[in-house]
């Protein structure tokens, strides 16, 4: 009996403890915007099978820190129009259900102005419906999923950033078709929207050349059986559509079983750092030399960009804000480039930005970004909600990538 009373009291106390803080929290007029700050949020896989992407969030944060510290040339104020950018990063572990929970928390508890750069195709697709229902901008998602640009009319608050996977697949298909029309291509792809998206693009231009496809489940790096089966299909070309972990395993396994195909690796898994790791693990540059991929940003690890002022600026920011990080990991660069585009859009959203003015600014952002390939720019319009429209081929040889071929306008 007494236990029950204690239960009741405990329950009441707990209820009050939950209630009172919530009841006291107020809401700002425009969520996320005060006189001195702008709050934005993102979800990143800080833990879990995709945790190497956490460096993107770190890169973004470093750039925002720079903006918050420097005095703008236009008005001499720090931050954007004197407002400090508060960047809230939540961990979703690459699990869309967590993405939902954390996104809701950022929108309903932290009252962010917008979600910027959220990572993961499935993750961001899972929250797209919710964010559009709540009219919260979902800006520059960190995924090349074509759906964000293609379905911008149905989901006007959501927009992508990097060249989409469909186009990348098409480009890789064009490349191999142009190089060797009789090539036999085996494909390893991640079994989700991202993998299928890219494969779909590749099929459009080189579908007839595919001899076998194998998939692997998200989160796994065990792809050896798949590689063995792909090799057994008699292919002489190997297309890898995977995130870095399984990409490395695939490259190393292929090498170990004596397979020496022409290698095509999608941009998601092709970052130098990982290719170098694959080379070290396989014990021979033969395992990775000749990899062809697509690129759309300057690569800070490439020798010919070492004198480029933007790359130098990038390295300076890294030295200041992320001194222990690997400067050659171009994912940090990716994060900064994205953050820079966001800051441009934020300025254009006006001195009193709202969610609506922000998404309008993003929808119309066109400027010459110093971060992208020389000769390319950022160009967005409501009719063409694909900010990045240019990419180039790049080939890996003896430790680094070199771009080749003409700049391709893909949208």
């Amino acid at each position: 009996m007494k236990t029950l009373l204690v239960t009741g009291v405990a329950g009441l106390v707990a209820a009050l403890a939950i209630t009172i803080p919530g009841a006291l929290a107020g809401t700002a007029a425009t969520p996320g915007v005060t006189k001195t700050s702008v709050t934005i949020g993102t979800t990143m896989p800080i833990t879990g099978p995709a945790n190497f992407y956490a460096s993107i969030g770190a890169g973004m944060r470093a750039y925002f820190s720079y903006i918050n510290a420097r005095k703008a040339k236009s008005d001499g104020k720090r931050g954007v129009y004197g407002r400090q950018i508060v960047f809230k990063v939540e961990d979703d572990g690459y699990n869309p259900v967590n993405t939902l929970q954390k996104t809701r928390k950022l929108v309903e508890q932290d009252h962010v102005l917008a979600m910027v750069g959220g990572l993961g195709t499935e993750a961001q697709l899972a929250v797209r419906g919710y964010l559009n229902q709540q009219k919260v901008p979902q800006i520059y998602v960190s995924t090349g999923s074509t759906q964000f640009g293609a379905e911008h009319k149905q989901f006007p608050w959501s927009i992508g950033w990097q060249p989409d996977y469909l186009q990348e697949g098409i480009a890789l298909g064009k490349y191999i078709r142009g190089r060797n029309a009789n090539a036999k291509v085996a494909v390893l792809y991640q079994d989700d929207q991202y993998g299928k998206d890219l494969l779909g693009g590749f099929r459009k231009t080189a579908g007839r050349m595919i001899t076998a496809t194998e998939s692997y489940p998200v989160g796994s790096t065990a792809v050896s059986s798949q590689v063995a089966r792909l090799r057994a299909s008699g292919a002489d070309t190997f297309l890898i559509i995977a995130i870095p972990g399984p990409t490395i395993t695939a490259l190393v396994t292929a090498y170990r079983i004596g397979w020496r195909p022409t290698l095509l690796v999608n941009s998601v898994g092709a970052t130098d750092v990982w290719i170098t790791a694959a080379q070290n693990s396989a014990g021979s540059p033969e395992a990775v030399n000749g990899i062809v991929t697509t690129t759309y940003l300057k690569d800070p690890a490439q020798p010919n960009y070492q004198k480029d002022p933007q790359v130098k600026f990038y390295k300076a920011l890294m030295a200041k804000y992320l001194p222990n990080a690997n400067v050659n990991n171009s994912q940090y660069y990716y994060g900064m480039a994205k953050a820079a585009d966001f800051v441009q859009a934020l300025y254009r959203a006006g001195k009193s930005p709202t969610r609506a003015s922000l998404i309008r600014a993003v929808d119309n952002l066109t400027y010459k970004s110093p971060w992208v390939l020389p000769g390319a720019n950022i160009s967005t319009s409501p009719r063409s909600p694909f900010p990045m429209k240019y990419q180039k081929y790049a080939r890996y040889n003896n430790g680094s990538y070199t771009e080749f071929g003409a700049m391709q306008k893909i949208r």
Binding site: F52, A212, S220, S225, I248
Partner: protein
């Protein structure tokens, strides 16, 4: 069920690969069995402890200039001490208590080791050096990975050494006695609590071997051993949770089986490897509730 392009050469390659994978499961499964036999604890943290000690090996090699084999043996010694210490300090107070509580304690250990590894060394994936040359043997025109053969050999040696220890030394005898009957052993002068600690020590050392053998292929990261642990549980149960021989057998069979099924049977493909492994496990358990080698407690009621 279609079989894709079969060649004997490749089959042999897959067998060797499957046995190497199986060897990793076998050593971790053996660790689980040793702990279960001596202290009746299902150690959920076995994989994370293995991962943690593998990081120690990595740190010895990368930051302290050790070469592989010295780091290997030093890590085994450290793992041994760590395992014994954990048993003494964390597990001992809960021994004999509710199995649910013990499960929670090992889960807590899992979480802590995982967190510690990510904290100390960051979650970035790292390359773990292999002591075996990356080149392959060529046997009858087929490329056999030196790495795979090396893993099999090292695991076999480890298991045999351990077996010899249990079979031929007084301490080994003492441990076996303590596992079978703590009370009579105590009366006979066996220091039973020490035997428990030693059991955990050996298990932890085995885990370290497992981790160091698999790290070159899986790449070192805090989540490296999580899937391996799942397979090792299956292997341990497959062989009979109290049978060391069963654990090794189970591990090798599971590694071989999943590799060959994944490669040659279309329907299984690779997404279903894990479910198929467990499906087979449940089937075996229904037919032989004590596992392949173990003896089921007579429960015919």
């Amino acid at each position: 069920m279609t079989v894709i392009a079969f060649t004997w050469g490749e089959f042999f390659q897959q067998v060797v690969f499957g046995l190497a994978v199986g060897a990793v499961y076998a050593s971790l499964a053996l660790a689980l069995v040793i702990i279960y036999r001596t202290t009746r604890v299902l150690n959920f943290a076995q994989g994370e402890m293995a991962m943690f000690t593998t990081y120690i090996a990595w740190a010895l090699m990368t930051h302290h200039g050790f070469s592989f084999w010295p780091a290997f043996f030093l890590t085994i010694a450290i793992a041994f001490a760590l395992g014994a210490g954990i048993e003494r300090v964390v597990i001992r107070p809960f021994e004999g208590g509710s199995p649910l509580t013990l499960i929670l304690v090992t889960i807590a250990l899992f979480v802590i080791f995982n967190g510690l590894a990510a904290w100390i060394w960051t979650p970035e994936q790292r390359v773990f050096p292999s002591p075996f040359s990356a080149k392959s043997f060529t046997v009858a025109g087929v490329a056999i990975s030196r790495q795979d053969v090396g893993v099999i050999v090292v695991t076999l040696i480890t298991v045999v050494v351990l077996w010899a220890f249990f079979r031929f030394t007084k301490l080994g005898l003492g441990m076996r006695a303590a596992a079978l009957g703590p009370e009579p052993s105590r009366l006979l002068g066996v220091r039973v609590p020490w035997m428990f600690a030693l059991g955990w020590g050996f298990a932890s050392a085995l885990g370290a071997v497992s981790g160091m053998m698999v790290a070159p292929s899986l790449f070192l990261s805090p989540t490296m051993m999580q899937v391996v642990l799942i397979y090792s549980f299956a292997a341990a149960v497959l062989g009979g949770i109290e049978s060391p021989a069963g654990a090794v057998l189970g591990g090798l069979l599971l590694g071989l089986g999943t590799t060959l099924l994944g490669r040659y049977v279309d329907v299984v493909g690779t997404e279903l490897e894990l479910p198929v492994a467990f499906g087979i496990l449940v089937l075996v358990l229904i037919l032989r509730p004590g596992g392949l080698v173990g003896r089921a407690a007579v429960r015919r009621v």
